[in-house]
C-alpha cells in the first residue's frame, strides 16, 4: 500500500493562489474557511526587501494529533497514509482544531462538522493528482508515494531525513542538497508531517517569528492572532506577515465556563467526601446540599459541553463510537461516573444511610479527582498549544477545583444558615485560602518565573504578562485572588465575609481560566 506525501518547491511558487481556489472549487469550500492557502511574508528594508510565499495544507501526519484527540473516530488514517474524515460521525467538538499544530482543521459552516485537506482522496482514488497539484501554473507542488523510492517526493523526504541526521544519504536530487533546504513544519511536535518544503525561509515556515502588523487585506485586525509577535518600529527589516488566512480559534468563553462549573462540581463533591470522612461530618451540607450543588454544576457543565458542540444532537456518539485515546472520551465517562456517585451519595444522605456513605467516600474522591484532572491531559492533547503542554496544569486544576469547591460550600453555608457546623466552615475557609495560595503560586511560577520552553509558549506567556490579556491576568487572576485570600484570612468566622472571599476566589479563578483558554490559543499557528 502506498504512503502518500507531498512536497512544495518554494523556489517555484509565485503566490498566485490558484491552489487556494482550485481547492475551494474541488471541495465546494465556503468562504471564510480554507483547506489550503498561501501565506506571504516580507523581510528586509528597501531595496533589499524580499517576499516569500508559503502555501500550507494538511500534513497528513504519520502520528496525527487530530486523530488521537477525536472522540468519535471521525478522523482516521487511511491505509495509504491520508488522514481523512467522516463528517457523518463528527460531533463538531473542535478538539481536532485544538490538537493540530498547523491550523489545518476548521468547521464547515454548511455541515457544522470539522473539515480538512485530505490530499483530494476522492481524486487520488481515481488516479488523479490532487486539484492543487494539477492546477499549479509553475508545478511547484509534487505529490507521490513516500514508499516508492523512485518517486520524487520520496527522494525529497529522504533528503530531509538525511539533513536531520536520520537515514542514509539521499540519492542526488536536482538542486536539492544545500543544508537546510528541505524542511517540514514544526518537526519538534513529533507528528511526522508528510508535506516537505524546499527552500523555505525560516520566518515563513515558523509562524512565531514574523510580526503581524495586521492583515493588510482589510484594515480589520480581527484575523490577527493576539499573541503574534509585535512589530518593532525601529526594526523595519524584520520579517512581517502581510497575508494569511488563519482560522478562528476553536474554543471561546464556553470553555472557561466549563472549567469553572466543572471545578465547582468536582471540588464540592471532593470536599464533601473528605469532610465527611475526616471530620466524620454528617451535616446536611456534606450529605445532601453540598453534593446537590455539585450535581447541579455537573449538569451545567455537561449542558455547556453539549451546547458547545457544533452538532449537539450527536453528543452520544462519544459513547457509542468512543476513541479511547482521546481524553475527551475518558472525561465523558468520568463526568458520568461523578454524576452517578454524587446521585447515590445524595440518596444515601437523604435517607441517612451512613453505611452507604462510608462505602462511597473513596469512589467519590477518586471520581472527583479524575474528573478534575483529566482536563489537564485533554488540554495537553491540544498539541497546537504550547501553553497547555505538560502535566502541571492538572495540579493547578486540582488546586482551583478545591478552592472553587470550598468557595461553593462556603457560599451555600452562608445562604442556608445552620446546615453546616462552624468547625467545618472554618476548615473550609482554611482550605479555600490554602488552595488559592497554591493556585497563585502556580500562576506566579508558570507565568512569571519559569523559563518558556518554546517560542510559542513565550509568546503566549508574554500575551498574558504584558499583552492583550495582562489586564485580566493582573487585575483578575492575581489581584482578585490575593484579595480573596486576604478577606478569607481576616474574617475566618464571619459567614458573609467568608462568602465574599469565596465569591472573589471564584472570580479570580474564572479570570485565570478565561486567560488560560484564550491566551493558549492566541499564538499564530500558520
Amino acid at each position: 500500500m502506498a504512503n502518500y506525501g507531498f512536497a512544495i518547491d518554494l523556489r517555484k511558487c509565485i503566490g498566485c493562489h490558484a491552489c487556494t481556489i482550485a481547492c475551494k472549487a474541488e471541495h465546494q469550500i465556503p468562504i471564510g474557511v480554507n483547506r489550503c492557502w498561501v501565506k506571504t511574508v516580507e523581510k528586509g528594508t528597501f531595496p533589499n526587501t524580499r517576499r516569500f510565499f508559503f502555501p500550507v495544507l494538511c500534513n497528513q501526519c504519520d502520528d496525527a494529533p487530530c486523530i488521537t484527540i477525536c472522540p468519535t473516530r471521525a478522523l482516521f488514517k487511511r491505509r495509504d497514509g491520508i488522514v481523512d474524515l467522516h463528517s457523518d460521525v463528527c460531533i463538531g467538538c473542535r478538539a481536532c482544531m485544538v490538537a493540530c499544530p498547523y491550523d489545518q482543521l476548521f468547521i464547515d459552516p454548511n455541515t457544522h462538522t470539522a473539515e480538512k485537506c485530505n490530499f483530494c482522496a476522492n481524486r487520488v482514488e481515481n488516479e488523479l493528482l490532487p486539484s492543487c497539484v494539477s492546477v499549479c501554473p509553475t508545478e511547484c507542488r509534487i505529490f507521490g508515494d513516500l514508499d516508492d523510492p523512485t518517486s520524487e517526493v520520496a527522494r525529497i523526504a529522504k533528503a530531509e531525513a538525511t539533513e536531520r541526521g536520520e537515514g542514509a544519504p539521499a540519492k542526488s536530487l536536482r538542486g536539492v542538497g544545500a543544508p537546510g533546504l528541505i524542511k517540514v513544519r514544526k518537526p519538534e511536535k513529533g507528528t511526522q508531517p508528510k508535506v516537505f518544503y524546499i527552500g523555505a525561509e525560516e520566518s515563513a515556515i515558523q509562524p512565531e517569528i514574523a510580526a503581524r502588523p495586521f492583515i493588510y487585506k482589510e484594515g480589520q485586525v480581527l484575523l490577527r492572532p493576539l499573541g503574534s509577535p509585535e512589530p518593532d518600529p525601529d526594526r523595519p527589516d524584520e520579517a512581517r506577515v502581510d497575508y494569511d488566512t488563519p482560522h478562528a480559534k476553536p474554543w471561546g468563553v464556553d470553555m472557561a465556563i466549563y472549567l469553572l462549573t466543572k471545578g465547582i462540581a468536582t471540588g464540592t463533591m471532593l470536599l464533601c467526601a473528605l469532610v465527611a470522612y475526616f471530620f466524620n461530618d454528617r451535616s446536611a451540607l456534606t450529605m445532601t446540599v453540598g453534593p446537590f450543588v455539585s450535581l447541579a454544576f455537573l449538569l451545567i457543565t455537561t449542558s455547556v459541553l453539549v451546547a458547545d458542540l457544533e452538532r449537539p444532537e450527536r453528543f452520544y456518539y462519544m459513547l457509542i463510537r468512543p476513541n479511547w485515546r482521546s481524553w475527551m472520551v475518558w472525561g465523558t465517562w468520568f463526568l458520568i461516573a461523578h454524576g452517578a456517585i454524587t446521585t447515590l451519595w445524595i440518596a444515601a444522605g437523604w435517607f441517612g444511610a451512613t453505611g452507604v456513605i462510608a462505602w462511597l467516600v473513596w469512589p467519590a474522591v477518586i471520581a472527583s479527582l479524575l474528573t478534575t484532572c483529566y482536563t489537564g491531559f485533554l488540554f495537553a492533547q491540544g498539541l497546537a498549544r504550547d501553553l497547555w503542554q505538560g502535566p502541571q496544569s492538572a495540579f493547578d486544576l486540582l488546586a482551583q477545583a478545591v478552592a472553587e469547591g470550598a468557595a461553593a460550600l462556603l457560599i451555600t453555608a452562608a445562604l442556608v444558615p445552620g446546615i453546616g457546623s462552624a468547625r467545618v466552615t472554618s476548615a473550609l475557609a482554611v482550605i479555600l485560602i490554602g488552595a488559592m495560595v497554591l493556585h497563585l503560586s502556580f500562576l506566579v511560577f508558570e507565568n512569571l518565573l519559569a523559563p518558556s520552553p518554546t517560542r510559542h509558549h513565550e509568546l503566549a506567556v508574554s500575551a498574558i504578562r504584558r499583552g492583550p490579556f495582562a489586564r485580566l491576568f493582573w487585575g483578575g487572576a492575581i489581584v482578585i485572588s490575593i484579595v480573596s485570600i486576604a478577606v478569607g484570612a481576616v474574617a475566618t468566622t464571619v459567614p458573609f465575609a467568608l462568602a465574599l472571599a469565596a465569591v472573589l476566589a471564584l472570580a479570580g479563578s474564572f479570570a485565570w481560566e478565561y486567560v488560560w483558554v484564550e491566551a493558549g490559543q492566541s499564538v499564530p499557528l500558520s
Partner: protein, 913 residues
C-alpha cells in the same frame, strides 16, 4: 503506485465518473461530460475543461485543459472561479431595456426579439441614411479573434473602438517600430536570461502561460531580472530586482546597451545581417561611410553618456548591479527573453521609447525570434480566415483616429468624451462590449457626462456578462455569456508555437449530446444569457432582412444558400477550410473538423516556430523582383519584400526596410525626428521634478493583482482573497507624515482627490506610491451591481464637480448561495481612476498612467472612499496634452502611415486626407 494523471483521459470525457467530493468518504458517483472550452477571464486564452453534471446540467467545476499547448493543463485562480461567475447571485440573466431616465436605474425585462428589432431598426436607418460613422462598437478585452471585426466590416462601418490605448499601445508601438510586430512572444522556457519590465509572474498579459514558462526557465538556470519600483510578486522571485525610479528605465536599459557594446557582448553577425544600419547611417550620419563598423562606432558614440554611474544617479540602482545585469544579458547571447507590456511603457510619457531601448538589448544579443529569445506575435498567433470575407470600410472615422494622432497605435478610445464635448461627432448606436470605461478609463466622470447626454449618444447598448458602472448608463443591457457559455475562436502568442482554441457554450453542447436540438445558445445558458457570435448574426439579418443592403450575405450559411448561418456552420467552415492540418487530424480520428474541435477544443497548428524572418521567399513572390546588391534586399514594385542573406532571399521583417529598424524613418517623416532612434526621455513624473517637501509623489496606479480580472471578477472566492487596494507607501515616507498602516490618507491629483487607507511597506521605492487598479468597484443601487465586490455610493453633482461618498461597503446578504450571507469583508477599495485626467502620449496615444499627486493625512471630514472630481479641469488637462501632438497629414497627404495597420483596417484610399 498508480500512475497519477493530472486530468482524466480524453477517452473518458464523454462519460466521466467522478466521486462526489462533498459527501466523501462516502463513495457517491457522479457522471459528467467533460467539455473543453477557452477561459474568458483574461487574454491568455488558456484551455479549460468544464465538468458538466449529467443529471443537473450544471457546470460543477473548471480545470485546466491538458492538451492545450499554451496553458498545458494549468490555470490561474481566475480560471477556476468561472462557476462563481456562472452562479453569481447578482448576474444579469435577461435582456433589459431602460424604463426611465438614463442612469435612473429603472429597467424592464424585454425579449431578445424586441431588443433585436429595435436595435437593428436604428442600425439600418443609420446605414441607409449614410450615417455609418455614428455606429460604434467599443470593446474591452476581445476574448476572440476576428468575429466582431468582421461584423462591422459586413455593415461597412469603421466603428471598431478598443481599450488598447489605456493598456498597451506604448509597448506595442515600441515593438512595432523595430520589427513590424507589435507584441513580443518571448520564449522564456528556453532563455538564459529573462528581463521583465512588467510583473509577468503574477499579472502578465498571458499570465498563466508565461508564468509557467518563466519559472521553467528560471528552474533550468536562467537569471531573472525584474525592473519595477514596486516589490511585485515578480520582483520577489527575481534573481536581481532593480527598482529603478519609474520613468528612468530608458537610462537603465541604455547603460546596459553601453556595457554590451563596450565589452563586446553583442552578436555582431546578427546585428550586421538583420539591423537596418545602412538606413541609420544614411539618415543620421552622412559624415560616415555606410559600413557596419561605422555603425558600431556611431552607436558607441550615441550612447557614450550612459555610463553605469550616470544610470545609477538617474535610476537609483547601484552601478555595479547595472553592470552585473548587463553582463547576464550579454552572456545569454541569442537566449535573452524579455517583456514589457504595461508598467513602464504604459506608465510614462514616451513609454514606447522605453520599449525601444529594451528591444535594442534583444537585437544586440541576437535574440530576435530565436529559441530562448523573443519571438513575434505575427508568427506565433494563429488567426484562421472566417467565411465570406466582407470588404474593408471605405471611410475614416475621426472619432477613432483623429488627425492629431496619426501614429496612435490603437484608437484614441479614452478621449471619446472629450471629442464629443468638442462636437467632433455624435453616436447614434454605441455598443459597449465587456467594456467599462466609466470605471476602467481615466476621467470616468467625463464618460458619465457623455453617456447621460442623449444628444451625444442616442442609443447605448451594453453587452456584458455582469453589472458594471457603464452598463448602468445604458439603454439596453444585453447579457452575454462567460467562458463556458459562448462560441469564439481564440489564439495567442504564448510561446514559440501556433495554436487555435475553440470556446464553447458547454451546456448547449451537452444538451445537443443528449440529442436535443436548440436554435439559440440562450436556450441552454442560465436565464436568457446569449452569446455574441449568434447575436451578431441574428442582428445582421434584421438589419438587412431581404439582403438588399448587401450585408446579410456575410451571415448566410456557406452550405445552405440564402439561410442564416448557424454556429455549427460558421465554425465548421472555418475548421474545414482555414486551419492547416486540422481536417487531416480530425480524419485520423474519424471525426469532422468541427466534431474534433468540439471534442478537443484546441488544435496545435505549428510547433517550434523560430526565426520566421529567415523563411525563404517563395518563387511566386520572387517573380518580377530585383535584388539590390549593395543593401542586400529584394525589391518588387518599388517596395522591399525581403532580405538577401548569404545569397538566399528571405522574407525578413514586416518593416519598410524588411530589417530591424534602429532608425525609424517613419518618426522622422511624421514630425518626430528627435525620436528617430531609441533614446532616454525621462517620464512625465520624473523623480527630480517632484516637490517632495510639498508632498508630491509619483503614484503608480497601474498594477494588477494575480487574483483579479479587471471588471469581470466580482466573485466570492477571488474577493475573499483580494478585496482592498490600500496605498503602498514606503516606511521612510510614512514616518515623515506620521502615517501608520490603516490610516486614512488623501491623495490629490490635478482634477480632484480620493481618500483611502495607507499600507506602509518596505516594498516600494521612497518617493513612489502604489495602488492597484483592480479594486474600488461601486454601484448606485443596493441590488443592481455586485454586492460581493462593490460599495454602494452616492454621487453629488455641483456643476462640473462630482463628489462620491460611500454609503456602505460589502456586507452579507441573503441569496440562493449561502456564502453570500458569510461575506466578512467590508472595505472593497477605492476607485482612483476617476481622479486621473487623460494624459495621452502624443505619439502612441497611450494614456500615461503615472500621476503626479500630493499626499496628505485625511482630515476630520474625510471618509474612506471619498472621491472628488471636477470635469472642467479634466477637459483643460486634455487640451494641454492635445497641444503636444503633431497632427497629420504626413508624407503623401496621409492620415497615417500605410504600414501602420488598424484593428479594422479601412481601404488604403481612406488613409488619405
Amino acid at each position: 503506485m498508480p500512475p497519477f494523471k493530472s486530468h482524466p483521459d480524453p477517452a473518458t470525457w464523454d462519460d466521466y465518473v467522478d466521486f462526489e467530493s462533498t459527501s466523501w468518504p462516502k463513495k457517491e458517483r457522479r457522471r459528467y461530460w467533460i467539455i473543453p472550452s477557452v477561459c474568458f477571464n483574461c487574454e491568455s486564452a488558456c484551455g479549460i475543461l468544464a465538468y458538466v453534471d449529467k443529471e443537473k446540467l450544471t457546470v460543477r467545476k473548471i480545470e485546466g485543459h491538458p492538451l492545450h499547448p499554451g496553458s498545458r493543463g494549468r490555470t490561474c485562480a481566475k480560471g477556476v472561479v468561472t462557476p462563481n461567475q456562472l452562479e453569481d447571485p447578482d448576474r444579469i440573466l435577461y435582456p433589459m431595456k431602460r424604463d426611465g431616465d438614463r442612469g435612473s436605474g429603472k429597467w424592464r425585462q424585454v425579449s431578445w426579439d424586441e431588443a433585436l428589432d429595435d436595435i437593428a431598426g436604428r442600425l439600418r436607418k443609420a446605414i441607409v441614411e449614410n450615417r455609418r460613422h455614428e455606429i460604434m462598437y467599443h470593446v474591452g478585452r476581445p476574448g476572440e479573434d476576428g468575429y466582431a471585426n468582421r461584423v462591422l466590416q459586413a455593415w461597412g462601418v469603421d466603428g471598431h473602438n478598443s481599450h488598447t490605448n489605456v493598456c498597451s499601445s506604448s509597448a506595442r508601438l515600441g515593438h512595432f517600430l523595430w520589427c513590424g510586430s507589435d507584441r513580443p512572444s518571448p520564449d522564456y522556457a528556453n532563455a538564459e536570461t529573462i528581463l521583465l519590465l512588467s510583473s509577468h509572474l503574477e499579472t502578465g498579459h498571458y499570465f498563466n502561460p508565461h508564468a509557467q514558462r518563466i519559472i521553467e526557465g528560471q528552474s533550468n538556470g536562467a537569471t531573472l531580472i525584474v525592473v519595477d519600483p514596486r516589490l511585485s510578486n515578480t520582483s520577489a522571485k527575481a534573481n536581481m530586482w532593480l527598482p529603478a525610479y519609474s520613468g528612468t528605465e530608458g537610462a537603465l536599459l541604455l547603460a546596459m546597451v553601453k556595457v554590451l557594446l563596450d565589452e563586446n557582448l553583442y552578436d555582431r553577425e546578427f546585428v550586421r545581417t538583420w539591423v537596418d544600419w545602412r538606413g541609420y547611417l544614411r539618415a543620421a550620419r552622412p559624415d560616415l561611410a555606410v559600413t557596419f563598423d561605422n555603425f558600431i562606432v556611431s552607436l558607441k558614440a550615441l550612447y557614450s553618456e550612459f555610463t553605469p554611474e550616470f544610470a545609477a544617479a538617474e535610476t537609483g540602482i547601484d552601478a555595479a548591479q547595472i553592470v552585473d545585469a548587463a553582463r547576464a544579458i550579454g552572456r545569454a547571447r541569442g537566449t535573452f527573453s524579455t517583456h514589457n507590456w504595461r508598467s513602464a511603457a504604459a506608465g510614462n510619457l514616451w513609454g514606447w521609447q522605453i520599449t525601444r531601448c529594451l528591444y535594442l538589448l534583444v537585437v544586440l544579443t541576437g535574440s530576435v525570434a530565436t529559441k530562448g529569445g523573443v519571438g513575434l506575435h505575427l508568427s506565433n498567433k494563429f488567426v484562421p480566415k472566417h467565411p465570406i470575407p466582407p470588404p474593408p470600410p471605405d471611410y475614416w472615422n475621426e472619432l477613432l483616429f483623429p488627425r492629431e494622432y496619426p501614429l496612435a497605435f490603437f484608437e484614441m478610445s479614452f478621449l471619446l468624451p472629450h471629442f464629443l464635448k468638442e462636437n467632433r461627432g455624435k453616436l447614434d448606436v454605441y455598443f459597449t462590449r465587456v467594456y467599462n470605461p466609466v470605471w476602467t478609463n481615466p476621467d470616468g466622470f467625463s464618460w458619465m457626462e457623455m453617456l447621460t447626454d442623449k444628444e451625444k449618444v442616442a442609443l447605448h447598448v451594453a453587452l456584458t456578462p455582469t453589472w458594471s458602472e457603464t452598463a448602468w448608463f445604458a439603454d439596453y443591457i444585453l447579457p452575454m455569456g462567460l467562458g463556458t457559455e459562448r462560441h469564439d475562436t481564440m489564439s495567442q502568442e504564448t510561446h514559440a508555437a501556433q495554436w487555435l482554441g475553440f470556446r464553447q457554450p458547454v451546456l448547449r453542447v451537452a444538451r445537443e449530446k443528449r440529442g436535443e436540438k436548440l436554435s439559440a445558445t440562450y436556450e441552454a445558458n442560465p436565464g436568457e444569457v446569449w452569446e455574441e457570435s449568434e447575436f451578431w448574426a441574428a442582428l445582421t439579418w434584421r438589419i438587412d432582412p431581404d439582403g438588399s443592403l448587401g450585408i446579410r450575405k456575410h451571415f448566410e450559411s456557406p452550405y445552405r444558400p440564402g439561410e442564416r448561418v448557424t454556429m455549427d456552420e460558421y465554425y465548421g467552415w472555418m475548421f474545414e477550410n482555414s486551419v492547416p492540418g486540422l481536417p487531416e487530424a480530425a480524419a485520423t480520428e474519424g471525426l469532422t473538423p468541427l466534431a474534433y474541435m468540439r471534442k478537443y477544443g484546441v488544435f496545435k497548428v505549428k510547433d517550434n516556430v523560430y526565426t520566421p524572418h529567415q523563411e525563404p521567399l517563395s518563387p511566386d513572390a520572387l517573380k518580377g523582383a530585383t535584388i539590390d546588391a549593395e543593401d542586400e534586399v529584394v525589391i518588387k514594385d518599388g517596395q522591399r519584400i525581403g532580405v538577401v542573406v548569404n545569397g538566399i532571399a528571405m522574407t525578413g521583417f514586416t518593416t519598410p526596410s524588411r530589417r530591424l529598424e534602429f532608425h525609424a524613418q517613419t518618426l522622422v517623416d511624421w514630425g518626430w525626428p528627435e525620436h528617430a532612434v531609441p533614446r532616454y526621455v525621462p517620464g512625465h513624473v520624473h523623480w527630480r521634478s517632484l516637490k517632495r517637501d510639498e508632498g508630491e509623489f509619483d503614484l503608480l496606479p497601474n498594477f494588477r493583482l494575480p487574483t483579479l480580472i479587471h471588471t469581470r471578477s466580482p466573485v466570492k472566492w477571488l474577493y475573499e482573497i483580494s478585496h482592498d487596494n490600500p496605498l503602498w507607501i514606503a516606511t521612510a515616507d510614512a514616518r515623515r507624515y506620521g502615517i501608520d498602516t490603516g490610516d486614512l490618507v488623501k491623495v490629490r491629483t490635478r482634477i480632484g482627490y480620493f481618500v483611502t487607507r495607507a499600507w506602509v511597506t518596505e516594498g516600494i521605492r521612497p518617493g513612489v506610491l502604489g495602488m492597484s487598479h483592480h479594486l474600488g468597484r461601486w454601484r448606485l443601487h443596493e441590488e443592481m451591481g455586485s454586492r460581493v465586490a462593490s460599495a454602494l455610493v452616492t454621487i453629488d453633482r455641483q456643476g462640473t464637480g462630482y463628489k462620491v461618498s460611500q454609503v456602505h461597503g460589502a456586507q452579507p446578504f441573503a441569496s440562493n448561495d449561502p456564502d453570500s450571507s458569510r461575506i466578512w469583508w467590508t472595505e472593497v477599495g477605492v476607485h482612483q481612476n476617476l481622479t486621473f485626467p487623460v494624459q495621452p502620449d502624443p505619439v502612441s496615444g497611450m494614456h500615461c498612467w503615472h500621476q503626479r499627486v500630493t499626499l496628505e493625512k485625511a482630515g476630520p471630514d474625510d471618509r474612506y472612499g471619498d472621491i472628488y472630481v471636477d470635469t472642467a479641469k479634466s477637459h483643460e488637462v486634455y487640451k494641454e496634452w492635445l497641444a503636444m501632438t503633431r497632427p497629420a497629414p504626413g508624407p503623401g497627404g496621409l492620415r497615417r502611415p500605410l504600414w501602420f495597420d488598424r484593428p479594422l483596417r479601412p481601404t488604403s484610399d481612406a488613409y488619405r486626407l
